[in-house]
């Protein structure tokens, strides 16, 4: 059969349709507490059609919540890159540094955000009102930085000797070598790390908000669970998924820009 023009639109819609159908069947049969798609839409409507409304601290339009979450993610993510990139460079450049820090990194890397968050809150207990934000930032940064660290290190190690020789022959200063040779050469790998880190940062934000009760998609989700408004849980899940998908796409776009360079 000849592949037809709207494939990219129609086929994903079929997929979404199948999921909707399963959801409908489930809510009608074995999961009676699960709101049906139609009911979800009706209950969520005010939050979608007025996405930036602010009716109360924990009663705001869905995009307004998303915005709060994104700001917190941006901060934590920036922190992760700021720490992770230099750390990756040191790992890539120095064998000794790798020997010293690689084992501890491998141990810390698999620790779940749910485990880090309480520690973050304890660390910043003295910060009073800001404790929950700082704790959340700490958790996002420490969970999200590993892909950046590891990919940067791999990228630096993979820099062809030819490029390093150019720097050696021209006797480039350390700074010039870093900015003219090392960073551009490692950039494609670094971007892969940046993209994966952003994905993790977005995963962590929701957990962080749920546990701290901060306003945002995750906080809203948890509150609505406690208030037994299950439709909103689904609204939040869909929002989180869509935002994560968009972020990943944007990063892929930036990544492919640098790949060709």
């Amino acid at each position: 059969m000849k592949s037809f023009k709207l494939d990219w639109l129609v086929l994903p819609l079929i997929g979404a349709g199948i999921v909707l159908l399963l959801w409908q069947i489930s809510s009608a049969t074995w999961a009676k507490e699960l709101p049906s798609p139609l009911k979800t839409w009706e209950t969520s409507k005010p939050y979608i059609v007025e996405p930036f409304a602010k009716r109360g601290e924990m009663d705001q339009g869905i995009l307004r919540f998303t915005w709060y979450s994104l700001i917190l993610v941006a901060k934590g993510y920036a922190l992760a890159l700021l720490i992770g990139t230099p750390l990756g460079f040191f790992l890539g450049l120095s064998k000794t540094f790798t020997k010293i820090f690689d084992p501890i990194i491998q141990v810390l890397r698999p620790v779940s955000p749910l485990a880090w968050l309480p520690l973050g809150l304890v660390l910043f207990m003295g910060a009073g009102k800001n404790a929950s934000e700082l704790g959340a930032l700490f958790t996002i940064a420490i969970c999200a930085m590993w892909p950046t660290v590891l990919n940067t290190a791999v990228g630096v190690r993979a820099i062809p000797q030819d490029y390093l020789n150019v720097a050696k022959v021209l006797k480039l200063s350390r700074t010039k070598t870093l900015f003219k040779v090392l960073i551009p050469a490692a950039l494609p790998y670094m971007f892969t790390g940046f993209r994966l880190s952003l994905g993790i940062a977005w995963l962590v934000i929701v957990a962080a908000e749920m546990l701290t009760g901060r306003p945002g998609v995750g906080g809203f989700l948890w509150q609505e669970y406690n208030s037994l408004i299950y439709e909103h849980i689904i609204l939040c899940i869909i929002t989180i998924g869509v935002v994560g998908f968009v972020l990943d796409r944007l990063m892929s776009l930036a990544e492919s820009k640098f790949k060709t360079a």
């Binding site: 030819d162 490029y163 020789n165 150019v166 050696k168 022959v169 021209l170 006797k171 480039l172 003219k180 040779v181 551009p184 050469a185 950039l187 060709t260 360079a261």
Partner: protein
């Protein structure tokens, strides 16, 4: 004229699991200022090893190298290097690649002057119209032109070339030989070039240094090439000595480099003896003969 580059008892040993591998041993060569010297020898004999020690990118195991009266330690922009692959940084345009070196060497000059230097050499090698392209947008030959422009733009004391045209088709190769030799004449550079191509060596060189086969490779024989300059390819090919020299080189590569026989005196104009007549080449050659006897 005095010797500009002096390579003195240069030795390279690589430690291997099976013990030390002596690749080059007691390699001696003197090059005068403004001379063009080609280094030929069998594949794997150690030509690149010698050249890379002169570039400073490869550590010297024994002996020393003196350039313009100063012992060389490590790499530096006083030597313009062109390798088989041009080693351009792919994220920079041809112009930026050249500028990276020019900025380094002429840091006292102002920006406009530096720009002029880079543009001048890129134009001379024939890239006036494509100097703002990235290496990926350039053909293999054009990339090698950038490499040549970069080497000359540094205003180096000497040029070191390792089979710079080895990956090019024969037409491009001849074009680039012309570009190289013209720049060399204009800037009066001293050059040491490794090549596999006997005709290329005869067209470019003042002297051709033949290396013996490794391990423990050294200078086997040095051939003077006295064709008048500026050289015209046709005139060189029609020169009465051309085929004699060519035959001699090929014979060296085919036989003598292998067997390390003592040098037979052949009837050639100005064929100079190797530079260490009492050196190990002769001793070794004699030993070979004695052992076989």
């Amino acid at each position: 004229m005095s010797d500009y580059l002096v390579i003195d008892n240069l030795t390279k040993i690589y430690p291997t699991p099976k013990g030390d591998a002596v690749i080059v041993k007691d390699f001696n060569l003197r090059i005068k200022k403004g001379e063009f010297v080609c280094l030929i020898g069998h594949s794997g004999c150690g030509k690149s090893t010698v050249l890379s020690m002169v570039t400073g990118l490869n550590e010297i195991t024994g002996g020393g190298i003196i350039l313009a009266g100063k012992e060389l330690v490590g790499p530096g922009p006083d030597r313009g290097i062109v390798f088989q692959s041009p080693c351009l940084l792919p994220w920079m345009t041809a112009f930026e690649n050249v500028m990276l070196g020019v900025d380094q060497v002429f840091f006292t000059a102002d920006k406009a002057e530096r720009k002029q230097i880079a543009e001048y050499y890129l134009s001379v090698v024939g890239l006036a119209d494509s100097m703002h392209k990235k290496p990926a947008e350039l053909s293999q030959g054009m990339r090698q032109r950038v490499g040549i422009a970069r080497a000359f733009a540094l205003s180096p004391k000497m040029l070191l070339l390792d089979e710079p045209f080895g990956m090019l088709d024969s037409l491009t190769r001849m074009e680039l030989q012309q570009v190289l030799i013209e720049l060399w004449r204009r800037d009066k550079k001293t050059a040491l070039m490794v090549t596999h191509d006997v005709d290329e060596a005869l067209f470019l060189a003042d002297r051709i240094v033949c290396m013996t086969n490794g391990p423990e490779a050294e200078v086997g024989e040095i051939l003077e090439v006295h064709f008048p300059r500026p050289r015209d390819r046709k005139a060189v090919l029609e020169h009465p000595d051309y085929y004699k020299l060519r035959e001699h080189l090929i014979a060296f590569l085919e036989e003598r480099a292998h067997k390390k026989l003592p040098k037979t005196k052949i009837d050639l104009p100005k064929s100079s003896p190797p530079q260490n007549p009492n050196g190990s080449a002769h001793r070794k050659a004699l030993n070979v003969l004695l052992n076989h006897a």
